[in-house]
Amino acid sequence: MQRRDFIKLISGAFALAFIAPMNAFAAIWNKAAFETTKLNEAEKNLEINSEKLSQEILITLPDKAENGAIVQIEVKSNIPNTEAISILVEKNPTPLIAHFKFSNGAEPFVVTRIKMAETSDVKVIVKAGNQYFTNAKNVVVLENGCG
């Protein structure tokens, strides 16, 4: 082995040893989906191609939010074999808010609090098997909570 090749090999191994563990969490986080400013781009990056409207997705949100910094949302899916729930706010600077994956006896149910920049539809997408289902609810926002 030539000295040059040896150095290349060693530096490559070092890079892997140090960078790989640092990126372990970064790799799980869907950067492209969370950082895009477009709703359809976020969906594309979540590998959602087609979705069916479903009333079996129950969304509890206020009709009107005084302060967009804290809007409580509850989502429950009655669709059999629900594996994941995504929450998107159409008019937020970055629409994708959260993606929840359920396993080992977790119910397809979640309550959390989100930020809303302005009056917008809040869209929920449910993954069940290889199918995607969606439902939405509009929330009137009086004060921007996305500062």
């Binding site: 409580q72 977790a106 309550v111 930020k115 996305c146």
Partner: protein
């Protein structure tokens, strides 16, 4: 980080007739800065937000969440398990974009 960063409660609810479940409530202490807000001196406050939340029941993963900057400051989360019994251990861990992390355990009551 210390456990002061997360408050948790896990309670068995419902009854045999209507079905029982364990409700887990989590309140985290985190700024959830979007990276778009400015401080008093007109300087941008860098993004600082929780990206991943993982919950386990007796060591087995039950919930994996990816979050963006749109989750409110001091994040609140409720989830439900049908697979938990009184005395089981539920653990929640978060990781943020600056490499900080916190874990909290709780026993189902």
């Amino acid at each position: 980080m210390t456990s002061d960063n997360m408050k948790m409660r896990a309670q068995l609810k419902g009854d045999a007739a209507s079905g029982s479940y364990t409700e887990v409530k989590v309140l985290m202490s985190h700024p959830m800065d979007t990276g778009r807000k400015k401080d008093d001196f007109d300087r941008l406050i860098p993004a600082h937000f929780v990206q991943l939340v993982t919950a386990t029941l007796n060591g087995k993963t039950v919930l994996e969440a990816q979050w963006g900057t749109g989750i409110s400051k001091n994040p609140y989360l409720t989830f439900r398990l049908t697979s938990a019994k009184i005395g089981d251990t539920i653990s929640v861990t978060w990781h943020d974009n600056l490499g900080e992390t916190a874990t909290q355990n709780i026993i189902v009551t």
